[in-house]
Amino acid sequence: MNIRITLDGKEIETTAGTLLVDVAADNGVYIPTLCYQRGKPCLGTCRACSVRVNGNVMASCTVPVAEGMTVEVDAADLNDMRKALVELLFAEGNHNCPSCEKSGRCELQAVGYEVGMLVSRFPYRFPPRTREHVAKYIWLERDRCIFCQRCVEFVRDHETGRKIFTIDDRGTHASIEIDVALADRMPPEQVREAAELCPVGCIIAKGVGYDKPIGQRKFEVKSIRERTLERSRK
């Protein structure tokens, strides 16, 4: 069903039930996301896509559009909220981009640029987190995990359907875990997918580090904003 909504003051036509975050992207309005991936079920964990819908702040990846909705994306307070959420993630883990394998293709870093983050307003916590390198093909650099849940929800052992990645405990004690036996029988293709799926440099494929020179990496050749809005230009 075709409906009309107002997006940053502009009336646009769209289809009822489509997720707001996609509708915005299709209409040239970039909303940052860290857990959401177009076409995949919404995870609703990072909240970086928060916008105002009919006066209430909501995560746009969780909102199916409906007739007459008024949506605000570009407002000073909202821009600052989204920025603050990204800053929280930097303060919560340990991120040292220059020495990170993911730099240049990291969604957190890319989104950090988009929201204009320079430094975190929140005190850096420097949590002690141990890395996990027992699995044959995968290295978990826990310092960088943002608990987006992508790996937990979307990676399964092909044969049994069991979870390979899981999160132990919760809150400040949360820790990303890997089932080593299952991980060791992941085909190379699946290992590569898992590493790509991880928005940050936490899931790292062993043996292929720094395969692309800095400067030629994913978001360095084309920004995350451009990539998200690609469809709207077609």
Binding site: R47, A48, S50, M81, L88, E92, K163, D168
Partner: protein, 612 residues
């Protein structure tokens, strides 16, 4: 409690009966984990592996659930596991001495097990006994109104081999009987009104009358009564039931939310103790109204002492044909099972509760869809609070008009207050919506009151002086039942600090603002108490608090900043008094001593080396 089960390779064989009991259905994982822990005292790795294999899950997947809940242990937790409730009310009533005595008598510190592996000592948040603190759980029983003397006696008897139940229940009442519950916990019903705790309610007759009505007519009655949910959000119950009625789905579900995790509330505990039939019948009325066959009562693990008693009530109702197959001889089947929680405040959130009923971590779901559309196992699910169901039974007995004539035009009926803190008689008070704060304070015998925390940490802190004439109703002081009173001798900042820590402890951690932001807000209040905060910190509190309020995924995160924000609004002076006056070039928040501590240690170590 440990029954001395073998914990090793034989674990695999021991798991089989448990798997069989639940037909290897992984949605019953929490029940299975409980069964293992009750046998072995904890959940050994071997059991996790065996269970995972039997359920076709990875072992870590089982651990996701296991590690989420406070009461599950993956390491030995003592032959007796003790949980002392750490609440703001307990701290006003001798908690510190009790805590110290426990450590001394058991020979261990909180968070660990003593060398003889007899006692595991742990902290826990409110266990629903704020009217009789300090209180603790020992295995599956509770002890209330603790004093150092009482603690010494209990620990000594446990050392001599008595079971907790023998101590708490000296007359050895059957666990299925009311006397068993009352031997441990006082009801403390102070004022009864027209709706709750009525003697001799004719349950069979009420149900007959209800089943004579069409489901739509029941929905209409509930709508006309204008009752709103008693769990906190105040959603109109009639509307929820209509949506449940209309929701497409062959199978539907009714769930009673007896998680009662909000610090300071205990009314559901008392309703389940004294009027269990009102609650169970209310669920049956809902089942008729929306067309459900399955009912679940989600009972928090802190109320384990109510479990057998409630099971018995369900069994009795089945025998009387008020529950089960062909209820009252009609074509209406509805049955209820009890799902035990395992220690997680967030599981009070209806979608987290559903996840928990499905054997998973208690993570609130992304909405939409709402439970009433797609809830438990994808079926339309109607969740209501214990008190809501009990009130519905009264409505079906006495009529919608009667109920809506009570209270105010927009807040009909009465509500149960769980009153605790500085007053003459803590306990349960049934009040009509619309009474003023002052009237309540008067009734409960509160003197010299400074502040009242309405609705627990997730609610608001009001000032007795400024807000005394405000009224308890949905449009003014909406109250989920928790009513904690603080007089002028209390340090409100310490209360706020405690509440903020509660939210950090209880965050499910799936979304960023609550998981990470809560920690920062907790840090701020500690900074204030330490006298090292500046104006900037107060501004940060407001801004960061608003961030959490706006962007968190569930009600826990959106309400978590409220202890800070509401006291900052009502009692700004207590914050201002604590602000640091900048001296010298260092920021007040900079803790010089802490920053140089390691250097000091190193110097001392070096000095010792040298002197050798």
């Amino acid at each position: 409690m440990t029954q001395g089960i073998e914990v090793n390779e034989t674990m695999t064989t021991n798991i089989h009966p448990i798997l069989e009991r639940y037909h290897a259905d992984k949605t019953r994982l929490i029940d299975m984990l409980w069964d293992i822990q009750r046998q072995a005292g904890y959940i050994p790795d071997a059991a996790v592996t065996a269970l995972a294999e039997g359920l076709n899950m990875s072992a870590n997947d089982v651990r996701e659930t296991l590690t989420f809940y406070h009461f599950f242990h993956d390491k030995p937790a003592g032959r007796h596991t003790l949980y002392l409730a750490d609440t703001v009310i307990a701290r006003m009533q001798g908690y510190d001495e009790v805590r110290a005595t426990l450590e001394r008598e058991t020979g261990t510190t909180f968070g660990s097990v003593d060398p003889s592996a007899t006692f595991g000592l742990y902290d826990t948040n409110c266990i629903g006994l704020s009217d009789q603190e300090p209180a603790m759980m020992v295995d599956e029983v509770v002890f209330t109104r603790l004093t150092p003397e009482k603690v010494r006696t209990i620990i000594n008897r446990l050392k001599q081999g008595a079971t907790p139940s023998e101590i708490a229940n000296p007359d050895q009442f059957d666990t299925r009987r009311l006397e068993y519950v009352q031997a441990q916990v006082a009801d403390n019903i102070r004022i009864c009104g027209p709706v709750f705790f009525q003697q001799d309610r004719p349950h069979a007759q009420i149900l007959e009358k209800t089943l004579d009505l069409l489901p739509e007519q029941v929905v209409e009655q509930v709508t006309l009564s204008r009752i709103r949910g008693r769990g906190g959000a105040g959603f109109p119950t009639g509307l929820k039931w209509r949506l449940g009625r209309e929701a497409p789905g062959r199978e539907k579900v009714v769930i009673c939310n007896a998680d009662e995790g909000e610090p300071g509330t205990f009314k559901d505990r008392v309703l389940l103790t004294r009027s269990p039939r009102d609650v169970l019948l209310g669920m049956t009325v809902a089942a008729h109204a929306i067309g459900a066959r399955t009912g679940i009562l989600y009972l928090r693990a802190e109320y384990w002492y109510l479990k057998d008693y409630l099971e018995q009530q369900i069994t009795d109702l089945r025998a009387e044909r008020l529950l089960g197959r062909s209820i009252l001889g009609r074509e209406f089947d509805f049955d209820i099972r009890i799902q035990m929680g395992a220690g997680a405040y967030v599981c009070g959130d209806e979608t987290a509760l559903i996840e928990s009923c499905e054997g998973k971590r208690g993570t609130p779901r992304v909405k939409p869809p709402y439970p009433i559309q797609q809830g438990y196992l994808g079926m339309p699910t109607c969740i209501n609070n214990v008190e809501t169901f009990a009130a519905v039974t009264a409505i079906m007995e006495q009529g919608a008009d009667w109920f809506s004539s009570l209270g105010t035009p927009e807040s009909s009926g009465t509500r149960l207050l769980s009153v605790s803190g500085d007053c003459a008689a803590p306990g349960i008070y049934e009040i009509e919506w619309g009474v003023s704060l002052n009237e309540v304070l008067d009734t409960v015998g509160a003197r010299n009151t400074r502040a009242v925390q309405i609705s627990g940490p997730s609610g608001e802190c009001v000032s007795a002086a400024a807000d005394g004439e405000r009224r308890l109703c949905y449009s003014d002081l909406s109250c989920n039942g928790s009513f904690m009173i603080f007089d002028h001798s209390r340090d409100l900042l310490r209360v706020v600090e405690h509440f903020m820590r509660f939210f950090v402890d209880e965050s499910c951690g799936i979304c960023v603002p609550c998981r990470a932001g809560g920690v920062d807000l907790h840090h701020k209040i500690r900074l204030i108490i330490a006298g090292r905060a500046t104006r900037q910190d107060l501004d940060d509190i407001v801004n960061w608090g608003n961030l959490m309020r706006g962007t968190s995924r569930c009600g826990l995160g959106t309400t978590a900043p409220k202890p800070l924000l509401t006291t900052l609004e009502k009692f700004p002076q207590i914050y201002r008094e604590k602000l640091a006056r900048p001296q010298g070039p260092l920021l007040p928040s900079f803790d010089l001593e802490n920053a140089t501590r390691e250097y000091e240690h190193a110097c001392q170590a070096l000095a010792q080396e040298k002197s050798k």
